[in-house]
Symmetry: C2
Subunit: 212 residues, 2 copies
DNA sequence: AAATTGAATTTTGTATTCAAAATAATCTCG
DNA sequence: CGAGATTATTTTGAATACAAAATTCAATTT
Protein backbone atom coordinates (compact mmCIF):
# COMPACT_ATOMS: atom_id res chain seq x y z
CA UNK A 1 0.00 0.00 0.00
CA UNK A 2 1.30 3.42 -1.00
CA UNK A 3 0.68 6.68 0.84
CA UNK A 4 0.78 10.09 -0.84
CA UNK A 5 -1.30 13.19 -1.39
CA UNK A 6 -1.81 12.01 -4.94
CA UNK A 7 -1.77 8.33 -5.58
CA UNK A 8 -1.01 8.59 -9.26
CA UNK A 9 2.42 10.02 -8.43
CA UNK A 10 3.90 7.07 -6.51
CA UNK A 11 2.09 4.70 -8.86
CA UNK A 12 3.78 6.45 -11.76
CA UNK A 13 7.20 6.17 -10.14
CA UNK A 14 6.69 2.53 -9.28
CA UNK A 15 5.51 1.66 -12.79
CA UNK A 16 8.37 3.53 -14.38
CA UNK A 17 10.78 1.64 -12.21
CA UNK A 18 9.11 -1.66 -13.09
CA UNK A 19 9.50 -0.87 -16.78
CA UNK A 20 13.08 0.36 -16.65
CA UNK A 21 14.11 -2.58 -14.48
CA UNK A 22 12.41 -4.95 -16.94
CA UNK A 23 10.11 -6.32 -14.27
CA UNK A 24 7.56 -5.48 -16.93
CA UNK A 25 9.01 -6.70 -20.21
CA UNK A 26 8.89 -4.74 -23.47
CA UNK A 27 5.90 -5.76 -25.51
CA UNK A 28 4.08 -7.08 -22.49
CA UNK A 29 0.45 -6.12 -22.03
CA UNK A 30 -0.37 -4.23 -18.88
CA UNK A 31 -3.56 -5.65 -17.44
CA UNK A 32 -4.90 -2.76 -15.46
CA UNK A 33 -6.94 -4.61 -12.87
CA UNK A 34 -4.03 -6.91 -12.13
CA UNK A 35 -1.43 -4.18 -11.66
CA UNK A 36 -3.88 -2.03 -9.75
CA UNK A 37 -4.54 -4.84 -7.31
CA UNK A 38 -0.82 -5.54 -7.09
CA UNK A 39 -0.14 -1.93 -6.10
CA UNK A 40 -3.17 -1.73 -3.86
CA UNK A 41 -4.95 1.06 -5.70
CA UNK A 42 -7.94 1.35 -8.00
CA UNK A 43 -7.68 1.70 -11.76
CA UNK A 44 -8.26 5.45 -11.62
CA UNK A 45 -4.82 6.57 -10.38
CA UNK A 46 -3.19 3.71 -12.29
CA UNK A 47 -4.72 4.95 -15.51
CA UNK A 48 -3.41 8.43 -14.88
CA UNK A 49 0.08 7.06 -14.27
CA UNK A 50 -0.10 4.93 -17.41
CA UNK A 51 -1.07 7.93 -19.43
CA UNK A 52 1.96 9.84 -18.14
CA UNK A 53 4.16 6.97 -19.21
CA UNK A 54 2.47 6.90 -22.58
CA UNK A 55 3.57 10.50 -23.06
CA UNK A 56 7.08 9.49 -22.15
CA UNK A 57 6.94 6.75 -24.75
CA UNK A 58 7.56 4.03 -22.21
CA UNK A 59 4.06 2.67 -22.73
CA UNK A 60 1.98 2.35 -25.86
CA UNK A 61 -1.79 2.49 -25.91
CA UNK A 62 -3.92 0.74 -28.49
CA UNK A 63 -7.52 1.93 -28.08
CA UNK A 64 -9.91 -0.79 -26.94
CA UNK A 65 -6.99 -3.20 -26.86
CA UNK A 66 -4.92 -2.06 -23.96
CA UNK A 67 -1.62 -0.61 -22.86
CA UNK A 68 1.69 -2.27 -23.67
CA UNK A 69 5.25 -1.74 -22.48
CA UNK A 70 6.96 -0.13 -25.42
CA UNK A 71 9.50 -1.98 -27.52
CA UNK A 72 12.37 0.07 -28.80
CA UNK A 73 14.03 -0.61 -32.12
CA UNK A 74 17.28 0.61 -33.64
CA UNK A 75 15.55 3.32 -35.63
CA UNK A 76 14.09 4.84 -32.49
CA UNK A 77 17.37 4.59 -30.62
CA UNK A 78 19.10 6.51 -33.38
CA UNK A 79 16.31 9.06 -33.37
CA UNK A 80 16.82 9.54 -29.67
CA UNK A 81 20.53 10.08 -30.12
CA UNK A 82 19.86 12.72 -32.75
CA UNK A 83 17.38 14.49 -30.47
CA UNK A 84 19.83 14.34 -27.60
CA UNK A 85 22.50 15.84 -29.78
CA UNK A 86 20.21 18.69 -30.73
CA UNK A 87 18.75 19.43 -27.31
CA UNK A 88 21.80 18.81 -25.15
CA UNK A 89 23.91 20.68 -27.67
CA UNK A 90 21.72 23.71 -27.24
CA UNK A 91 21.63 23.25 -23.47
CA UNK A 92 25.39 23.17 -23.06
CA UNK A 93 25.68 26.24 -25.24
CA UNK A 94 23.16 28.16 -23.12
CA UNK A 95 24.73 26.90 -19.93
CA UNK A 96 28.21 27.97 -20.97
CA UNK A 97 27.07 31.46 -21.93
CA UNK A 98 25.61 31.92 -18.47
CA UNK A 99 29.15 31.73 -17.04
CA UNK A 100 27.90 30.84 -13.57
CA UNK A 101 30.78 29.63 -11.36
CA UNK A 102 28.44 27.69 -9.07
CA UNK A 103 27.15 25.70 -12.03
CA UNK A 104 30.62 24.99 -13.30
CA UNK A 105 31.63 23.77 -9.88
CA UNK A 106 28.65 21.46 -9.73
CA UNK A 107 29.63 19.94 -13.03
CA UNK A 108 33.28 19.73 -12.02
CA UNK A 109 32.40 17.82 -8.87
CA UNK A 110 30.62 15.09 -10.83
CA UNK A 111 33.81 13.65 -12.26
CA UNK A 112 36.21 14.55 -9.45
CA UNK A 113 36.04 11.05 -7.90
CA UNK A 114 37.24 9.50 -11.15
CA UNK A 115 40.29 11.64 -11.89
CA UNK A 116 42.65 9.33 -10.06
CA UNK A 117 42.68 5.71 -9.01
CA UNK A 118 40.35 2.92 -10.02
CA UNK A 119 36.96 3.66 -11.44
CA UNK A 120 33.89 2.06 -9.92
CA UNK A 121 31.91 1.44 -13.06
CA UNK A 122 28.56 1.61 -11.34
CA UNK A 123 29.34 4.96 -9.75
CA UNK A 124 30.75 6.25 -13.01
CA UNK A 125 27.54 5.41 -14.87
CA UNK A 126 25.56 7.35 -12.32
CA UNK A 127 27.95 10.27 -12.65
CA UNK A 128 27.63 10.12 -16.42
CA UNK A 129 23.86 10.32 -16.22
CA UNK A 130 24.10 13.10 -13.67
CA UNK A 131 26.46 15.12 -15.86
CA UNK A 132 24.10 15.09 -18.81
CA UNK A 133 21.08 15.76 -16.66
CA UNK A 134 22.85 18.68 -14.97
CA UNK A 135 23.62 20.27 -18.31
CA UNK A 136 19.95 20.20 -19.18
CA UNK A 137 18.81 21.28 -15.72
CA UNK A 138 21.20 24.21 -15.42
CA UNK A 139 20.86 25.64 -18.91
CA UNK A 140 17.95 27.77 -17.76
CA UNK A 141 15.44 26.71 -20.40
CA UNK A 142 12.56 24.99 -18.62
CA UNK A 143 10.82 24.14 -21.87
CA UNK A 144 13.89 22.30 -23.12
CA UNK A 145 14.16 20.50 -19.81
CA UNK A 146 10.58 19.40 -20.12
CA UNK A 147 10.97 18.20 -23.69
CA UNK A 148 14.11 16.32 -22.76
CA UNK A 149 12.37 14.69 -19.84
CA UNK A 150 9.22 13.74 -21.68
CA UNK A 151 11.22 12.28 -24.49
CA UNK A 152 12.66 10.26 -21.61
CA UNK A 153 15.77 10.64 -23.54
CA UNK A 154 18.34 9.50 -21.09
CA UNK A 155 16.65 6.62 -19.33
CA UNK A 156 15.68 4.93 -22.58
CA UNK A 157 19.25 4.79 -23.77
CA UNK A 158 20.37 3.44 -20.42
CA UNK A 159 17.53 0.93 -20.52
CA UNK A 160 18.86 -0.30 -23.83
CA UNK A 161 22.11 -1.05 -22.04
CA UNK A 162 24.25 0.87 -24.44
CA UNK A 163 27.22 2.32 -22.61
CA UNK A 164 30.81 2.88 -23.57
CA UNK A 165 33.74 2.39 -21.22
CA UNK A 166 34.90 5.14 -18.84
CA UNK A 167 38.33 5.05 -20.51
CA UNK A 168 36.65 6.17 -23.68
CA UNK A 169 34.07 8.62 -22.36
CA UNK A 170 35.84 10.29 -19.43
CA UNK A 171 38.23 12.28 -21.66
CA UNK A 172 35.24 13.36 -23.73
CA UNK A 173 33.37 14.49 -20.65
CA UNK A 174 36.42 16.43 -19.48
CA UNK A 175 36.78 18.11 -22.85
CA UNK A 176 33.20 19.32 -22.62
CA UNK A 177 33.80 20.54 -19.10
CA UNK A 178 36.95 22.37 -20.17
CA UNK A 179 35.10 24.20 -22.94
CA UNK A 180 32.40 25.22 -20.45
CA UNK A 181 35.06 26.45 -18.04
CA UNK A 182 36.74 28.70 -20.58
CA UNK A 183 33.31 30.00 -21.57
CA UNK A 184 33.39 28.75 -25.14
CA UNK A 185 29.78 27.72 -25.77
CA UNK A 186 30.24 26.80 -29.41
CA UNK A 187 33.15 24.53 -28.58
CA UNK A 188 31.29 22.96 -25.67
CA UNK A 189 28.39 22.22 -27.99
CA UNK A 190 30.71 20.77 -30.59
CA UNK A 191 32.44 18.51 -28.06
CA UNK A 192 29.15 17.35 -26.64
CA UNK A 193 27.72 16.59 -30.06
CA UNK A 194 30.84 14.62 -30.87
CA UNK A 195 30.51 12.73 -27.60
CA UNK A 196 26.91 11.73 -28.30
CA UNK A 197 27.75 10.93 -31.89
CA UNK A 198 30.44 8.51 -30.79
CA UNK A 199 27.89 6.58 -28.77
CA UNK A 200 25.54 6.60 -31.71
CA UNK A 201 28.23 5.18 -33.97
CA UNK A 202 28.89 2.38 -31.51
CA UNK A 203 25.19 1.56 -31.47
CA UNK A 204 25.01 1.45 -35.24
CA UNK A 205 28.13 -0.67 -35.57
CA UNK A 206 26.83 -3.04 -32.92
CA UNK A 207 23.48 -3.47 -34.59
CA UNK A 208 24.95 -4.00 -38.05
CA UNK A 209 27.23 -6.67 -36.61
CA UNK A 210 24.31 -8.36 -34.89
CA UNK A 211 22.27 -8.42 -38.09
CA UNK A 212 24.96 -10.44 -39.89
CA UNK B 1 -23.00 15.51 -27.58
CA UNK B 2 -19.88 14.08 -29.25
CA UNK B 3 -19.61 10.69 -30.94
CA UNK B 4 -16.32 8.78 -31.27
CA UNK B 5 -14.78 5.42 -30.47
CA UNK B 6 -12.89 7.19 -27.72
CA UNK B 7 -14.54 10.13 -26.10
CA UNK B 8 -11.35 11.63 -24.73
CA UNK B 9 -10.10 12.25 -28.27
CA UNK B 10 -12.83 14.65 -29.48
CA UNK B 11 -12.97 16.16 -26.02
CA UNK B 12 -9.23 16.83 -26.27
CA UNK B 13 -9.61 18.46 -29.67
CA UNK B 14 -12.53 20.58 -28.55
CA UNK B 15 -10.74 21.73 -25.40
CA UNK B 16 -7.58 22.54 -27.31
CA UNK B 17 -9.62 24.60 -29.73
CA UNK B 18 -11.36 26.38 -26.88
CA UNK B 19 -8.00 27.28 -25.36
CA UNK B 20 -6.29 28.39 -28.56
CA UNK B 21 -9.34 30.42 -29.57
CA UNK B 22 -9.38 32.03 -26.12
CA UNK B 23 -12.88 30.79 -25.40
CA UNK B 24 -11.17 29.61 -22.25
CA UNK B 25 -8.97 32.48 -21.13
CA UNK B 26 -5.40 32.06 -19.86
CA UNK B 27 -5.36 31.76 -16.10
CA UNK B 28 -8.97 30.67 -15.96
CA UNK B 29 -9.82 27.72 -13.79
CA UNK B 30 -11.34 24.77 -15.55
CA UNK B 31 -14.20 23.49 -13.45
CA UNK B 32 -14.40 19.89 -14.50
CA UNK B 33 -18.05 19.20 -13.77
CA UNK B 34 -19.08 22.33 -15.61
CA UNK B 35 -17.07 21.64 -18.78
CA UNK B 36 -17.99 17.97 -18.71
CA UNK B 37 -21.68 18.83 -18.61
CA UNK B 38 -21.16 21.42 -21.34
CA UNK B 39 -19.60 18.79 -23.61
CA UNK B 40 -22.07 16.12 -22.61
CA UNK B 41 -19.57 13.67 -21.14
CA UNK B 42 -18.55 12.55 -17.69
CA UNK B 43 -15.45 13.74 -15.91
CA UNK B 44 -13.51 10.58 -16.80
CA UNK B 45 -12.79 11.29 -20.49
CA UNK B 46 -12.53 15.00 -19.75
CA UNK B 47 -9.82 14.32 -17.22
CA UNK B 48 -7.88 12.28 -19.74
CA UNK B 49 -8.11 15.10 -22.27
CA UNK B 50 -7.02 17.64 -19.67
CA UNK B 51 -4.02 15.54 -18.83
CA UNK B 52 -3.00 15.45 -22.48
CA UNK B 53 -3.21 19.22 -22.59
CA UNK B 54 -1.22 19.45 -19.40
CA UNK B 55 1.58 17.59 -21.16
CA UNK B 56 1.35 20.05 -24.02
CA UNK B 57 1.69 22.87 -21.53
CA UNK B 58 -1.64 24.39 -22.48
CA UNK B 59 -3.09 23.54 -19.10
CA UNK B 60 -1.54 23.64 -15.65
CA UNK B 61 -2.54 21.37 -12.81
CA UNK B 62 -2.25 22.29 -9.15
CA UNK B 63 -2.94 19.21 -7.04
CA UNK B 64 -6.08 19.44 -4.93
CA UNK B 65 -6.70 22.87 -6.39
CA UNK B 66 -7.61 22.26 -9.99
CA UNK B 67 -6.61 22.71 -13.60
CA UNK B 68 -5.97 26.14 -15.10
CA UNK B 69 -5.50 27.40 -18.63
CA UNK B 70 -1.82 28.19 -18.83
CA UNK B 71 -0.54 31.75 -19.00
CA UNK B 72 2.50 32.31 -21.15
CA UNK B 73 5.13 34.88 -20.30
CA UNK B 74 8.01 36.36 -22.27
CA UNK B 75 10.53 34.00 -20.76
CA UNK B 76 8.60 30.99 -21.93
CA UNK B 77 8.08 32.44 -25.39
CA UNK B 78 11.82 32.92 -25.75
CA UNK B 79 12.42 29.40 -24.49
CA UNK B 80 10.07 28.10 -27.14
CA UNK B 81 11.91 30.00 -29.85
CA UNK B 82 15.20 28.51 -28.71
CA UNK B 83 13.73 25.02 -28.74
CA UNK B 84 12.25 25.59 -32.18
CA UNK B 85 15.62 26.74 -33.43
CA UNK B 86 17.26 23.61 -32.10
CA UNK B 87 14.67 21.08 -33.20
CA UNK B 88 13.66 22.60 -36.54
CA UNK B 89 17.30 23.25 -37.30
CA UNK B 90 18.04 19.59 -36.88
CA UNK B 91 14.91 18.65 -38.82
CA UNK B 92 15.77 20.74 -41.84
CA UNK B 93 19.27 19.32 -41.83
CA UNK B 94 18.00 15.75 -41.79
CA UNK B 95 15.37 16.55 -44.38
CA UNK B 96 17.89 18.10 -46.73
CA UNK B 97 20.26 15.16 -46.48
CA UNK B 98 17.45 12.82 -47.53
CA UNK B 99 17.43 14.54 -50.93
CA UNK B 100 13.92 13.34 -51.71
CA UNK B 101 12.50 15.20 -54.76
CA UNK B 102 8.91 14.53 -53.68
CA UNK B 103 9.55 16.22 -50.35
CA UNK B 104 11.21 19.19 -52.00
CA UNK B 105 8.26 19.56 -54.32
CA UNK B 106 5.85 19.52 -51.41
CA UNK B 107 7.77 22.32 -49.74
CA UNK B 108 8.06 24.24 -52.99
CA UNK B 109 4.30 24.12 -53.53
CA UNK B 110 3.61 25.75 -50.17
CA UNK B 111 4.89 29.15 -51.27
CA UNK B 112 4.08 28.95 -54.98
CA UNK B 113 0.84 30.96 -54.59
CA UNK B 114 2.75 33.88 -53.11
CA UNK B 115 5.53 34.27 -55.66
CA UNK B 116 3.59 36.78 -57.75
CA UNK B 117 0.70 39.17 -57.20
CA UNK B 118 -0.90 40.23 -53.94
CA UNK B 119 -0.49 38.16 -50.82
CA UNK B 120 -3.57 37.10 -48.87
CA UNK B 121 -2.19 37.44 -45.38
CA UNK B 122 -4.48 34.82 -43.91
CA UNK B 123 -3.47 32.24 -46.50
CA UNK B 124 0.17 33.15 -46.09
CA UNK B 125 0.04 32.53 -42.36
CA UNK B 126 -1.39 29.11 -42.99
CA UNK B 127 1.33 28.41 -45.55
CA UNK B 128 3.96 29.58 -43.07
CA UNK B 129 2.70 27.19 -40.42
CA UNK B 130 2.49 24.40 -42.99
CA UNK B 131 6.06 24.98 -44.16
CA UNK B 132 7.50 24.61 -40.68
CA UNK B 133 5.29 21.66 -39.87
CA UNK B 134 6.29 19.95 -43.12
CA UNK B 135 9.97 20.30 -42.30
CA UNK B 136 9.39 18.52 -39.02
CA UNK B 137 7.06 15.92 -40.52
CA UNK B 138 9.31 15.02 -43.43
CA UNK B 139 12.64 14.91 -41.65
CA UNK B 140 12.07 11.26 -40.83
CA UNK B 141 12.64 11.46 -37.08
CA UNK B 142 9.37 10.50 -35.37
CA UNK B 143 10.77 11.19 -31.92
CA UNK B 144 11.62 14.74 -32.91
CA UNK B 145 8.17 15.17 -34.40
CA UNK B 146 6.62 14.01 -31.16
CA UNK B 147 8.77 16.32 -29.03
CA UNK B 148 7.95 19.22 -31.31
CA UNK B 149 4.26 18.46 -31.10
CA UNK B 150 4.15 17.97 -27.37
CA UNK B 151 6.00 21.18 -26.83
CA UNK B 152 3.09 22.53 -28.83
CA UNK B 153 5.72 24.70 -30.22
CA UNK B 154 4.03 26.20 -33.19
CA UNK B 155 0.51 26.80 -31.96
CA UNK B 156 1.69 28.56 -28.85
CA UNK B 157 3.65 31.11 -30.79
CA UNK B 158 0.74 31.66 -33.13
CA UNK B 159 -1.57 31.96 -30.13
CA UNK B 160 0.62 34.73 -28.83
CA UNK B 161 -0.09 36.60 -32.06
CA UNK B 162 3.50 37.22 -32.89
CA UNK B 163 3.94 37.24 -36.65
CA UNK B 164 6.16 39.19 -38.99
CA UNK B 165 5.04 40.48 -42.37
CA UNK B 166 5.21 38.29 -45.50
CA UNK B 167 7.51 40.88 -47.07
CA UNK B 168 10.01 40.11 -44.38
CA UNK B 169 9.61 36.37 -44.00
CA UNK B 170 8.94 35.19 -47.56
CA UNK B 171 12.53 35.82 -48.71
CA UNK B 172 13.76 33.95 -45.63
CA UNK B 173 11.51 31.02 -46.38
CA UNK B 174 12.73 30.96 -49.96
CA UNK B 175 16.35 31.01 -48.86
CA UNK B 176 15.73 27.96 -46.69
CA UNK B 177 13.99 26.26 -49.58
CA UNK B 178 16.87 27.04 -51.90
CA UNK B 179 19.40 25.53 -49.54
CA UNK B 180 17.27 22.40 -49.28
CA UNK B 181 17.04 22.21 -53.06
CA UNK B 182 20.79 22.35 -53.57
CA UNK B 183 21.17 19.72 -50.89
CA UNK B 184 23.15 21.87 -48.48
CA UNK B 185 21.85 20.76 -45.08
CA UNK B 186 24.20 22.90 -43.02
CA UNK B 187 23.21 26.01 -44.93
CA UNK B 188 19.51 25.14 -44.70
CA UNK B 189 19.89 24.79 -40.95
CA UNK B 190 21.75 28.07 -40.71
CA UNK B 191 19.10 29.93 -42.74
CA UNK B 192 16.29 28.42 -40.70
CA UNK B 193 17.97 29.29 -37.43
CA UNK B 194 18.43 32.84 -38.65
CA UNK B 195 14.78 32.96 -39.66
CA UNK B 196 13.56 31.87 -36.24
CA UNK B 197 16.06 34.14 -34.54
CA UNK B 198 14.70 37.14 -36.39
CA UNK B 199 11.24 36.42 -35.01
CA UNK B 200 12.70 36.00 -31.57
CA UNK B 201 14.44 39.36 -31.82
CA UNK B 202 11.18 41.04 -32.80
CA UNK B 203 9.49 39.51 -29.80
CA UNK B 204 12.20 40.71 -27.45
CA UNK B 205 12.21 44.19 -28.90
CA UNK B 206 8.45 44.36 -28.67
CA UNK B 207 8.38 43.30 -25.07
CA UNK B 208 11.14 45.70 -24.03
CA UNK B 209 9.24 48.52 -25.68
CA UNK B 210 6.04 47.55 -23.91
CA UNK B 211 7.75 47.50 -20.54
CA UNK B 212 8.78 51.15 -20.86
C1' DA C 1 -7.00 -33.01 -36.94
C1' DA C 2 -7.79 -28.15 -38.63
C1' DA C 3 -10.87 -24.47 -39.24
C1' DT C 4 -14.94 -21.95 -37.99
C1' DT C 5 -18.48 -20.50 -35.29
C1' DG C 6 -20.56 -19.03 -30.98
C1' DA C 7 -20.96 -18.71 -26.07
C1' DA C 8 -18.37 -17.50 -21.67
C1' DT C 9 -14.97 -14.64 -19.75
C1' DT C 10 -12.01 -10.94 -19.43
C1' DT C 11 -10.82 -6.27 -20.05
C1' DT C 12 -11.49 -1.83 -21.45
C1' DG C 13 -13.86 2.86 -21.54
C1' DT C 14 -17.15 5.62 -19.30
C1' DA C 15 -20.34 6.93 -15.75
C1' DT C 16 -21.47 7.24 -11.06
C1' DT C 17 -20.68 7.43 -6.23
C1' DC C 18 -18.29 8.89 -2.13
C1' DA C 19 -15.01 10.92 1.02
C1' DA C 20 -11.68 14.48 1.81
C1' DA C 21 -9.96 18.88 0.80
C1' DA C 22 -10.62 23.58 -0.70
C1' DT C 23 -13.47 27.58 -1.29
C1' DA C 24 -17.30 30.48 -0.22
C1' DA C 25 -20.67 32.15 2.89
C1' DT C 26 -22.38 33.09 7.37
C1' DC C 27 -22.06 34.17 11.97
C1' DT C 28 -19.85 35.88 16.24
C1' DC C 29 -17.46 39.01 18.95
C1' DG C 30 -14.39 42.96 19.54
C1' DC D 1 -18.68 47.88 11.00
C1' DG D 2 -14.60 44.53 10.41
C1' DA D 3 -11.60 40.54 11.53
C1' DG D 4 -11.58 35.93 12.70
C1' DA D 5 -13.88 31.65 13.47
C1' DT D 6 -17.43 28.38 11.99
C1' DT D 7 -20.49 26.23 8.94
C1' DA D 8 -22.12 25.16 4.30
C1' DT D 9 -21.10 24.37 -0.44
C1' DT D 10 -18.30 23.25 -4.13
C1' DT D 11 -14.82 20.64 -6.24
C1' DT D 12 -11.37 17.43 -6.50
C1' DG D 13 -9.26 12.59 -6.19
C1' DA D 14 -10.20 7.85 -5.80
C1' DA D 15 -13.19 3.75 -5.74
C1' DT D 16 -16.82 1.36 -7.56
C1' DA D 17 -20.28 0.03 -11.03
C1' DC D 18 -21.64 -1.08 -15.53
C1' DA D 19 -22.04 -1.60 -20.54
C1' DA D 20 -19.55 -2.50 -24.80
C1' DA D 21 -15.79 -4.48 -27.02
C1' DA D 22 -12.16 -7.90 -27.28
C1' DT D 23 -10.33 -12.21 -26.15
C1' DT D 24 -10.50 -16.99 -24.90
C1' DC D 25 -12.10 -21.45 -25.16
C1' DA D 26 -14.95 -25.10 -26.35
C1' DA D 27 -18.11 -27.22 -29.50
C1' DT D 28 -19.24 -28.27 -34.10
C1' DT D 29 -18.35 -29.08 -38.81
C1' DT D 30 -15.51 -30.28 -42.57
Amino acid sequence: MIEHSELSQPVYLKLKDMILSRELMPGQKIIQEKIAKQLGVSRTPLLKALQMLEYEMLVESVPRRGMFVKLMDLREMIEIFDCRESLEGMAVNLLTERKNPAFIQKLQKVFDPFLSGDIDIHKYRKADARFHQLIVDLCGNATLKRLYFFGNIYSKVVQAGLVRTPEETLPEHLKILEAIKVGNGKLAEQELRQHINNSKKLLMAYSIERDN
